[in-house]
């Protein structure tokens, strides 16, 4: 069995298209991370201004000044430190970006002239204790991961679409007449598919985390996502979770997505007569739900949100509900993935074993 699994893995990873997809994702991740890092901008009246690495250092220095639990005193200090010193020419101070901390503070506590809007920390965040610090790097990483993981799911489809259907293009009659062709071989294909999905997801997630560590360091993982600069949709998740928790959920959801996609692709690969049909059908099924006019406020989203595309578009799914045990509703992606995988794997094995060579 081990030998058969290794052969199946070799078949998956020796396909040119699969290698292109894998290398493409690695390059895409690197490019996305690097360009995000290079595009960073920060300005502070006392420290100066800069882009890229300098901007990150400025943001970290500012964050260090305020780090800890967000208090009304700190808010007042920020409003004073970041008060506009020049004419805004009619622009709202809320949207004038100076640095990550200023953007986070002004989007919640400023009026359009840059004065305090009168809200206290408890007015904005209720009784939640909001730990603040340098979150910009991790939130950038989270935002990039959404795109990377969508591409990853497509890459997994590319890698797995031929796993059964590729055999129907000629090798099936040799496989299905061999002793283990209808039994262990089909199982080996399923196992190889799962291993491929897990390995690829681990590789890509680890690579993106590594890039984040290199570019932004480790600061801020224990800080709340709720005090994020204004342009991060992550701050709309209505639960006080840390950047570390956000990334853990996001990576968990990447795994549930690729495993769900694996189940769907295995099934389509087994029933399709050629690999292109399997590939196109799996991609269409994966992407189609985003066209549905259902948002997270719709009760149906609790079901639709468990489809694999929403696992990687994590923000909507993470916004549904925090359950009584403290976990987010997104945790239901695990049983959903097991269901997709179980059904897909079971049916594909059966279909392959019963395949008629024509």
């Amino acid at each position: 069995m081990k030998k058969l699994i290794l052969f199946e893995l070799r078949k998956v990873f020796s396909k040119r298209l699969a290698l292109i997809a894998l290398i493409g994702i690695i390059l895409f991740s690197a490019l996305l991370s690097f360009s995000t890092f290079q595009n960073k901008y920060a300005f502070d009246q006392n420290i100066g201004k800069g882009t890229g690495k300098t901007a990150v250092e400025i943001d970290k220095e500012i964050a260090a000044k305020y780090e800890g639990i967000l208090t009304d005193k700190k808010v007042q200090q920020m409003m004073s430190d970041f008060a506009p010193t020049s004419d805004l020419h009619g622009l709202s101070a809320i949207y004038v970006y100076q640095n990550a901390m200023q953007s986070a503070a002004f989007s919640r506590f400023s009026d359009k002239e840059g004065n305090w809007n009168g809200l206290s920390v408890s007015d904005v965040f209720g009784n939640e204790e909001i730990k603040i610090g340098y979150v910009d790097g991790w939130l950038s990483t989270s935002r990039n991961m959404v795109r990377v993981f969508v591409a990853l799911a497509l890459a997994v489809i590319i890698m797995l679409a031929p796993i059964f259907s590729g055999e129907y293009e000629g090798v099936d009659n040799i496989i299905l007449t061999s002793k283990y062709g209808k039994t262990k071989c089909a199982t080996a294909k399923v196992v190889a598919g799962i291993i491929t999905a897990i390995l690829t997801t681990t590789l890509i997630a680890a690579f993106n985390l590594l890039l984040a560590f290199v570019f932004y360091g480790t600061e801020g993982l224990d800080c709340s996502i709720l005090f994020a600069p204004s342009d991060y949709v992550e701050a709309f998740i209505p639960f006080n979770i840390t950047c570390g928790t956000l990334l853990k959920y996001q990576i968990l959801l990447a795994f549930t997505c690729t495993l769900s996609v694996t189940g769907i692709t295995l099934f389509l690969s087994a029933i399709s007569k050629n690999q292109i049909v399997a590939l196109v059908a799996a991609m269409a099924i994966f992407l189609f739900p985003v066209l549905l006019p259902i948002t997270e406020v719709n009760p149906l989203f609790r079901l639709v949100g468990l489809l694999p595309i929403y696992h990687v578009l994590a923000i909507s799914l993470l916004s549904v509900e925090q359950m009584s045990n403290g976990m987010l509703y997104a945790i239901w992606a695990i049983p959903a993935a097991l269901l997709f995988l179980g059904v897909g794997a079971g049916i594909s094995r059966r279909v392959f074993a019963k395949h008629q060579v024509l």
Binding site: K3, L4, F7, K11, S14, E167, E169, G170, V171, D172, N173, I174, I175, L176, T177, S178, K179, Y180, G181, K182, T183, C185, H355, Q356, V357, L358
Partner: protein, 291 residues
């Protein structure tokens, strides 16, 4: 060992590819002859259990092969007419993969793969990628994979297609040496291939068996109906078109010897000769492929 079909029928829509076949095969080499579309490949696929019959069943020693599952496939070796391969695998790796599918352990797989690559004259190319192989080399690799598990039932669909004469002789010798106490079924259009090694001939037409017996028995049907006559070469084509001609051979002095199949002597100088399997084949399948 006894492989038996009972009322075996396979239909594709309105076309009956295999029509109520009842045959019993015991140890020996069987040559399956028939024009394209006669049902040979379908019969082989049914015997391999990679196509389900519309009706009827196949029994191995009295047991339905469907129920035997792995136990039946463990006895089986199959070379399909057209088979796929993994272009980036070497010949040796491909055989190791098929060995794993056939349940051979690592050591036995390596030993057997090397032996078979030697037997089909591919040992020097064993590490080459299959995508670099010619059609004949791929065919020889296909023959090797079919024999990896020392099958008791070896089914070869057009095994000599693409092989040059030297390779065909090598193949015939390989099969002859291998066939003891086994059922070997091979289909081919090259009648001489089965004539040399098959103990029994199964001749199929329109999904039915029209002849089943050893070559001498079945050629006896056209005893006295095969003629050789010598004609001027200039008229040879005209005669060949007019009669059921199995062979033309030019001699010196602008003369051609025609081998003609017919009830009556085609001309006065015609000489009655001993029929061959090829004569019989042409007698039945002069029209080429079946619809």
């Amino acid at each position: 060992m006894e492989l038996k079909t009972i009322g075996l029928t396979k239909k594709f829509g309105s076309k009956t590819a295999v029509d109520n076949l009842n045959i019993t095969l015991t140890n020996g080499v069987y040559g399956l002859l028939g024009a394209n579309g006669a049902g040979k490949t379908t019969l082989m696929r049914l015997l391999c259990n990679i196509q389900n019959p519309t009706s009827g069943k196949i029994l191995l020693n009295g047991k339905n092969i469907v129920g035997l599952g792995e136990r039946y496939r463990n006895l089986l070796g199959y070379l399909p007419q057209h088979f796929g391969y993994y272009p980036d695998f070497s010949a040796f790796d491909f055989l190791l993969y098929v060995s794993a599918l056939k349940g051979l352990d690592e050591k036995a797989a390596r030993k057997k793969s090397k032996e078979l690559l030697e037997a089909v004259d591919l040992s020097r190319e064993s590490k080459h990628k299959i995508k670099t192989f010619s059609g004949g080399m791929k065919q020889r690799l296909g023959i090797a994979q079919a024999m990896l598990n020392d099958p008791h039932i070896l089914i070869l669909d057009e095994p000599t297609a693409g092989l040059d004469p030297k390779e065909r002789v090598r193949f015939r010798n390989l099969i002859s040496a291998f066939s003891k106490d086994r059922i070997v079924i091979l289909s081919t259009h090259i009648v001489s291939d089965v004539e040399f090694i098959a103990e029994e001939i199964i001749m199929m037409k329109s999904g039915q068996i029209i002849h089943f017996g050893n070559p001498q028995e079945i050629t006896s049907e056209i005893d006295g109906q095969v003629w050789e006559c010598t004609v001027p070469t200039a008229y040879a084509e005209k005669y060949a078109a007019a009669y059921n001609t199995s062979n033309l051979r030019n001699t010196s002095e602008n003369q051609t010897i025609l081998r003609i199949i017919g009830d009556r002597p085609p001309m006065e100088n015609a000489v009655r000769v001993q029929p061959t399997l090829e004569d019989l084949y042409l007698f039945y399948f002069k029209g080429g492929c079946e619809e």
